[in-house]
């Protein structure tokens, strides 16, 4: 009861004009700002598309005039489709993680399914794992591109592609670290519904990073 008494003194802190938590308002504005960040990166990529003086190229084969060597189109769409699928699925587990934290303290639905669904640790872990798998795919993609002769200095495609997808990868990395920290806190003391806003803003960020990837995958990989 001492706990609830302490909480009842705190309405001054929870009162806001919109009724939303400050952190939630701020993360939406942060996402708005990030939209402009990625819009600049994506526009630059599109502006420089087809302006390369040398290959390798994303969608077309390229013959090196000096060596006569033929380089195939460099983007591997099937492999990236797999990593895209994994990243999209991580949004699902993110939703489940948030729901599990918000519903903590309520009765757990019966059966194994109910217990699985109410495990925030499991879903936070799955989200981190899928994010890490996506990053693994990206590391594989980057190294194989470098082996095929596409570096960040090679041509306009190399500069704009590595910078755009690299910025996205950095965002995924930050997200994995963020969610990993929440997972560690969850394992240490258990996340409670009052902590849900922390998970909520991490989830908004994570979904945003996912949505950006949908744009990148469509504009860079799918549209020739």
């Amino acid at each position: 009861m001492a706990h609830t008494a302490a909480e009842s003194h705190a309405p001054t802190h929870h009162y806001t004009t919109t009724g939303l938590d400050n952190r939630k308002v701020a993360i939406w504005m942060f996402i708005g700002s990030e939209c402009m960040l990625f819009a600049s990166l994506i526009s630059t990529y599109l502006i420089y598309k087809g302006k390369n003086l040398v290959g390798p190229l994303p969608h077309e084969a390229w013959t090196n005039p000096q060596t006569g060597q033929v380089m195939p189109a460099i983007l591997d769409i099937p492999v990236t489709s797999v990593s895209t699928f994994v990243l999209l699925m991580s949004s699902l587990s993110m939703v489940l993680a948030l729901a599990a934290v918000e519903n903590r303290g309520k009765p757990v639905p019966p059966g194994l399914g109910g217990r699985i669904l109410s495990s925030s640790k499991l879903w936070l872990f799955m989200t981190c794992l899928m994010g890490a798998i996506f990053l693994g795919f990206q590391a594989y993609e980057f190294t194989s591109f470098v082996h095929e002769g596409l570096t960040i200095r090679r041509n306009l495609f190399g500069s704009s592609f590595f910078t755009l997808t690299g910025f996205h990868g950095a965002h995924v990395t930050a997200g994995v670290i963020w969610l990993g920290t929440l997972l560690a806190i969850d394992m240490k003391r258990g996340l409670q519904p009052k902590d849900a806003v922390w998970v909520d803003i991490a989830a908004l960020y994570w979904h945003f990073v996912d949505v950006v990837w949908i744009a990148i995958f469509t504009l860079v990989y799918l549209i020739q």
Binding site: A6, S8, H9, A10, P11, T12, H13, Y15, T16, T17, T18, G19, L20, N22, V25, A26, M29, F30, G32, S33, E34, M36, L37, S40, L41, T44, I47, Y48, K51, N52, L53, I152, R153, N155, L156, G158, S159, S160, T163, T181
Partner: protein
């Protein structure tokens, strides 16, 4: 109202257990952070002013030999960069910090520690970009750093590295502050303080935060491209690899034009507070002034290429951007007329603040009209890159932004320090400054029309430029003593000015309903607001005839009338109908929880400084030291950020 006998002071806070320098290094109080911003920006104002005076001394007569071409390049680059990023933006930030929570009836900003972080990042970024001038290595590519001139090929020295990294650091500060203030304005308003009742300064600040949020990421990316080109050999601006040299210009001005409104709108907000107060009339057409501010912000994103008419974008692009640029004159003109109609029929008091506010209206109008002349591409072709442009933007930025900020400083000084600035010295400052300003910049119109290009470090005799340059230089030499009078007045009045009382100007908004300087908690009881000029409802109801009143938004307040326990065990309501608070107590006595002071934001900011400083070291070829610095900076950043986020902001209560 009541005469205040005792000397007002900040240190009324029994809750604060730190003193002296540590108090400033660890503060999370928005008023103190505003004070830090103010003093740092005034320091940089002095630096930028000295740079300007040296330039004017060099250009006073033909074939000047005071400084070399290299040094002159650094001077004009740093003068522009300093005045934009280290003076006007932070002076605005000082007012955002000090005023926004007070004007909306909040006890602090939404994220007090993030606020401290913004300041420290600004300070470190400012030093990072300024200190190289002492080693003859200051940035020298102009304040807009056009590529490919600023690429590694044509600018191989460290100079541009300090610019590109310094602006990046300052961008972090501006963005963090913008998220903070926008959240504060959206979410921390007192009951009844609806959007259409916010003081106009808060309104204009709100628009500015959105401009920062949406424009700064674009320059961030443009800077990353430049940084990657210079440090890692990418091709973003490498024409030899097929890159478009206009990419930088487009990205820069997509940021750069909203930046112009980031600089001017806070000043517009300040004079919109000053004019009604000294005209003893509500602001004319409040809603239209607010809407025109939003429209300026919105249109500001669609005019960037008018900075690029000379690059040959073609007739269609030129026409479109010419038209959008002329459109933006409409909401700006609306504001000018609203200010004039605010004064019309009012009973005006010509205080120093009022003089500066009127000067803004007049001088900004001149700058606006010369702006329209280069909104038309054919006319701009004659003016671009000449001193006519220099005259234009000094009329809008000095005649507009700086005049507005001076108006705000004289107006809000009593609230800030509890004492008035000296009006006699203020009058001297105003007239000297006003005459010197016009003497400096008006002749530049003629020099520009006669074809004198910007950024030249010297010129030959016999081109008809001598007279105008001489006049401009005299003006600059006169502006320096004007600023020194201001500084003398400012620092002297802090301790020796006339004690002001709570509401010395008989103003109408919430910040004037509490003691001067405000107590740490701002409002002992959060006021419930019924109109746009809540204080005049009490002091001057006769001025409020045409102003709508309602109890809108009070329902939410009912939740918070839930009483809270004070340390003495008494119960007190947290909110109360609009009232005047002249009693000064400590937050502890009142039982108001205050955020704890903390040094962690400073250390996180220092981590960022070390991280960014590693890159010039790497550029110099000292890779091992650079990697060590990256490791140290990175761990400082992560470690202190973790410590910050896992420490509760305030003690359990």
């Amino acid at each position: 109202m009541a005469t205040v006998a005792a000397s007002p002071t900040y240190t009324d806070s029994a809750g604060s257990h730190r003193t002296g320098i540590m108090d400033w290094l660890t503060t999370v109080d928005h008023k103190k952070i505003g004070t830090l911003y103010l003093h740092t920006a005034l320091f940089f104002f002095l630096v930028g002013g000295v740079e300007a005076v040296i330039m004017r001394a060099q250009l006073m007569g033909p074939n000047g030999t005071l400084v070399s071409a290299e040094v002159f390049n650094q001077l004009f680059t740093m003068h522009g960069t300093t005045m934009v990023f280290l003076v006007i933006m932070p002076l605005s930030a000082a007012f955002f910090n000090f005023l926004i929570p007070l004007q909306i009836g909040a006890r602090d900003v939404a994220f007090p520690r993030l606020n401290a972080f913004s300041y420290w990042v600004y300070l470190f970024g400012g030093l990072f970009i300024t200190i190289p001038i002492f080693f003859n290595a200051a940035p020298d590519g102009g304040w807009f750093a056009y590529t490919p001139l600023t690429g590694r090929e044509y600018s191989p020295g460290q100079n541009l590295n300090f610019w590109v990294l310094g602006i990046q650091i300052l961008g972090i500060s501006s963005l963090a502050a913008a998220f903070n203030f926008a959240t504060t304005i959206i979410n921390m308003r007192a009951p009844g303080m609806t959007l259409m009742r916010m003081p106009m300064f808060t309104w204009m600040s709100f628009v500015v935060q959105w401009l920062i949020i949406l424009a700064f990421p674009v320059i961030t990316i443009a800077l990353f491209f430049m940084q990657f080109d210079r440090f890692f050999g990418t091709n973003f601006y490498a024409v030899s690899a097929g890159a478009d040299p206009l990419l930088w210009q487009h990205l820069f001005w997509i940021f750069g034009h909203p930046e112009v409104y980031i600089l001017i709108l806070p000043a517009f907000g300040l004079v919109s507070e000053v004019l009604p107060t000294y005209s003893r009339k509500p602001l004319f057409g409040y809603a239209v002034v607010a809407y025109s501010g939003i429209l300026i912000g919105f249109l500001g994103f669609g005019v960037w290429a008018h900075h690029m008419f000379a690059v040959g974008m073609g007739p269609i692009a030129d026409t479109v951007f010419g038209v959008t640029t002329m459109l933006i004159a409409i909401p700006t003109g609306v504001k000018i007329f609203n200010w004039i109609f605010t004064m019309w029929g009012g009973s005006i008091r010509f205080t120093t603040a009022m003089k500066f506010a009127i000067a803004l209206i007049a001088m900004f109008t001149i700058g606006g009209i010369s702006g329209i002349t280069h909104a038309a591409p054919p006319s701009d072709m004659q003016q671009t890159d000449t001193y006519y442009i220099v005259a234009h933007f000094h009329y809008v930025l000095y005649g507009g932004a700086i005049m507005g900020i001076f108006a705000g400083l004289y107006h809000y000084f009593p609230k800030w320090y509890g004492r008035k600035m000296d009006e006699r010295l203020g009058t001297w400052h105003f007239w000297l400054n006003f005459i010197a300003f016009n003497l400096t910049f008006f002749p530049m119109h003629f020099a520009g029309m006669l074809g004198m290009p910007r950024r030249i470090y010297t010129y030959d005799a016999g081109q008809g430029w001598e007279l105008f340059n001489r006049l401009s230089s005299y003006g600059a030499f006169l502006m320096a003593p004007a600023f020194l009078i201001f500084l003398w007045n400012f620092f002297r009045s802090k301790t020796r000015g006339e004690v002001a009382g709570d509401n010395p100007w008989d103003a109408a908004t919430l910040e004037w309903s509490i003691p001067s300087p405000p107590p740490e908690y701002n409002f002992a009881q959060i006021p419930m607001v019924t109109s746009r000029y809540p204080l005049w409802d009490i002091t001057h109801p006769e001025r409020m005839a045409g102003i709508p009143h309602s109890a809108e938004g009070w329902d939410d307040a009912k939740q918070r009338t839930g009483e809270h326990v004070t340390s003495g065990g008494k119960h007190e309501a947290d909110v109360a109908p609009m009232h005047i608070e002249s009693e000064r107590r400590s937050a502890k006595e009142l039982g108001i929880p205050m955020p704890n002071p903390t040094i962690k934001p400073l250390w996180v900011a220092a981590g960022i400084l070390v991280l960014f400083s590693s890159l010039p070291v790497m550029y110099a070829g000292k890779n091992m030291i650079a990697f060590a610095m990256m490791a140290i900076g990175g761990s400082m950043f992560v470690g202190f950020l973790y410590a910050w986020l896992t420490t509760p902001m305030e003690d359990a209560h």
